[in-house]
Amino acid sequence: MSISGRTGFARVVVCDDRSTRRSSEGSRVSIVEAEAVEVQLEAPSGLWRDAFHLLIRNPGAIVGFVFVGVFVFAAIFAPLIATHDVTEQNLPLIANGCCPGPSGDHWFGVDLLGRDVFSRIVYGARVSLLIGLVSVSIGLAIGLVLGAMAGYVGGIVDSSIMRVMDVMLAVPGLLLAIGIVAALGPGVKEVMIAVGLANVPIFARLVRSSILAQRDADYVVAAKASGIRRPSILFAQILPNAISPVIVTATLAMATAIIDVAGLGFLGIGLQDPDETPEWGSMLTEVNEYLQTAPFLALIPGTAIVISVLGFNLIGDGLREALDPKLRGR
C-alpha cells in the first residue's frame, strides 16, 4: 500500500494499493516511504476517456465539483455577488457590543468592525482561490523541474536534489510555511511563496517517481533502441504519462493550500492587513473571545473553509480512483 502526499498538515491521501513495498529510491532517509501514486503505464488517450466516465459516476466527485464550483463562482463573481463593500464599517450596529447576527440586511451578520460578513466571505473566496492557485502552481512548476531533472538525469543530481527534498519533507507543511513567512515578512506574495515552496518536495518526488518508473518501461526502451534522442523521449513519451498523478496531487494540493493559508491567517502570521484583505482563517483569529456572544463569527468562515477544502479533496479522490486502473473494481 502506499500513501500519497507529505506528512504535513492536513494533507495525506491514502491510496488503497497492494502490498507494502520498500521504496525503490535509495535516496530516502527513512525506510517508511510516502510513495507516489502508482503510475499508469497505459497509453494516454484511453486513460482519459475511461477516467472521465468513471468520474461522472462517482457521487463523491460530483458533490466535490458542486462545492468547488460554488467556491470558484463566488471567487470570480465576488464584485457582483457581494452585498456590501468589504471595508465599509457600520459602527452604530456594534455600538452596544459585538455583534448582531444574520439579518435581512446582512445575510451573515456583521463582524467586530461592523462589516458585512457575507461580502467578506465572498471576497475571501477570491483570496483563497488566488493564493491557492498561485502557490500550487509555484510548487508544481518548481517541483516538476526538479523532479524531472532528478528522475531523468539521475546520479549525483538525483541524490542531491532528493536530499534537499527529504529535508523539506521532514518539516511539516504548516511549520515550513510559518518559517518562511516569518523570515520573509507578512503579505500576500510572501504567503504564496511560503505555501508554494512547501509544495515543491511533494511534486518533485512525484514527478521523479513517475519518470523513474517509466524510464524502464517497454515503450521507452523501444524508443531508445530505435534511436530517438533523450529529451524527445522525455517530452513526448514520459511526461504525458506522468501527468495523471500530478493532476491528482495538484487538486489535493489546492485543498492543502487553502487549509495552510487559513492556518497562517488564524495564527496571525499571514497577510499584512487582514482587515483590508478578508481571509477566512484570519476571520477566525479574534473569535475565540467572542464564542459566547457571537458564535456565528466563527462558524461561518470555518464552514466556508471546510466546504471548499472538502470539494477539492472529493475531486482529487475521485480523480485518483478514476485514473489508477489498479483501483478500479474496488
Binding site: I94, G97, L112, L113, D273, P274, D275, E289, Y290
Partner: protein, 565 residues
Amino acid sequence: MAADGEAAAERSNKLRGRRGLAAFVAALSTVFVFGTAGAATNVTFIYAGAADPTYLDPAIVSDGESFRIARQIFDTLVQLKPGTTKLQPGLAKSWRVSRNGRIWTFSLRSGVKFHDGTAFNSAAVCANFNRWYNWTGPFQDASASYYWRQIFAGFKRNEATGLSKSLYKSCRGIGRYVARITLNRRSGPFVPSLVLPAFAMQSPTAMAKYGANEGQLASGTFRPTGTYAFSHPTGTGPFKFTSWTVGQRVVLDRNNSYWGKRSAIARIIVRPISNNTARLQALQTGEVNGYDLVAPQDMPTIRNNSKLRLINRPPFNVAYVTINQAKPPMNNVLVRRAVAYGLDRAGVVNSFYAGRATVAHQFMPPAVPGFEPKVTKYSFNPERSKQLLRQAGLSLPVKIDFYWPTNVSRPYMPSPNLNAAAFKASLERSGFDVNLVSEPWRPDYVKHVNEGAGGHLNIIGWTGDYADADNFVGTFFQSNNPQFGLTGKGAHTTIKKLLNQAEATVNTAKRIKLYKQINKLLATYVPGVPYAHSRPGVGVERRVTGYKASPVGTESFYGVTVGGQ
C-alpha cells in the same frame, strides 16, 4: 483560614508515613495559630494576574506583574494615597529640600524592621541608593535597571554609551532616622518617582546574604544569579514573601510586625492566568477573588453579574496619534491642526472603549499635576479641516500613510484595528486620502514608530509610571523625539526650554504652572493628537471590600478584606 487548614490536612493525608503525619500536625497547628489570632482576620485573598512576575527584586524589573508582588512586600519612602496620584508619606515621614534645590532631607519612620529583623534606618536607605548607584556590568543594562536609568540617568562608572552623568551624588545618614540625599542638579521628578517599586527599600542584610548583586547577561537579557530575586525578597511591607512556584502562584503571608495597622488579610495568593477568558472564568467560578486586566468584551459580563463588581482604575494613560513632522506636509502646523479636526475622537472613544474612556485633549491624564483643563480643544469638524488644508496650499485629498499595530492590545488602546479603521473613515471625510498600513506590534511597529520610520500618522500610547508630568510630556517632548519628527526648531524650542525648566524646578506650585503652560502650547503646536484616556478595569467579587485600584496599574492589597470568610 480554616478552609485552607482543612484542605492542607486533606492533602497531607495522602502522603505516606510519618512525613504525612508530621505535615498533618503542622497543618493543624497552623489552623490553631491563625485561629487564635482573631477569626475575622484569617482571610485569604486570591488574585489573578496575567503572567508570572519576572523577578521578586523590584529594582531590576520593569513589568507590572513583578511590581504587583513588590507592592505587597516592600514600602517606598514616598507613597501614593490609595486610589489617587497624591503623594503621601511612606517610610519617610516628611521631606524637604535645601535652598539650592539639590539636597533632600528625609525624616524616616522609626521602629520599622525588615522582614528578616534588620532595622530600617538611614543606613539602610543609603545602602539601597548606593547599591543602585554602584551597579556595574550586567546591572547597567536597561533590562535590569530601567527605572534607575530613567530617573537618575547614570551610575558611578558608566559603562554603556547611552548613559550620562548621574543625577544622584551621594547619601548620608544623619543620626539613625534622617537620610540626606544629595543630587547633582535640581530635579522636580525626583520625589514623585520614589513611589516606584523600583526604589523600594530592601533589606541590606538579606541582599548581601542572598547575592542580590550577582547577575549576568544571558542571550541578551539580564538575569540575576543569586537567590535573592527568586526566593528571598525582603522588605518592610504589610506582607512577606512565603513561596513562588513558577507558573503557578506566589504566596505572601501577613507581616505581623508591620509598622502600620495589621492587614485584615492573612494570606495573598497571586496566580498567573494569561488567557483573558480563563481569568474571567476563574472569577466567575470563585476560584479567584479578583483579577486585573479585564478585557473590554468581558466588562459587560462582569457588570451584569450580581456577585461581581467592576472597579475602575482612574485613567493614567493616554492614547495618541503621532504626527511625524519629518514627513511633509506634516511639518506645516496648519496641516497638523487639520488632522486634529479631522479625527473623530469622540466617535472612537464612545464606540470602542465600552464606555470606559474619555476623550483626551492633552498628553497627560487629569490625575497628573499640571493638567490644564483649558487647552484648545479640537472637536471633529471635517469642514474646518478641509479649510485648513486649503489654507496650507494643498490640493485635496492629501495622501497620507496611517500606521497601526496588529497582535496587540494595550490598556489605552484595547482594539487598535477598530481605532485605525474609524480614524481612517473620519479623516477621509476631512480631506485626506488615508492609506492604512499595519505591522505587528513586536518588533516592527514599536521600532518603526519610535524611530520615526512609520507613517505620517501612527497610533500609540503611554501608561504613566509615576505621578509626574515629566513622565508624560517630558518623555515625549523633552528631546528631539523621532516619533514626532521633532527637530528642536520653532515652537518646539520653547516647549523644550519649558520642559527643562520644569524638570529642574523643585517647587511644586511652580512646576504645575509650568506644565499647564506647556500643555497649552502643545495643544496649539499639535505634535500629535491625543485621543483617549481609558480606565482599565479590575474585576472582583462583591464580597471584596476596601479595594482601591491605583491609577499606576498595581496596588497594595493592604486595606482589602474579603467578606464571608
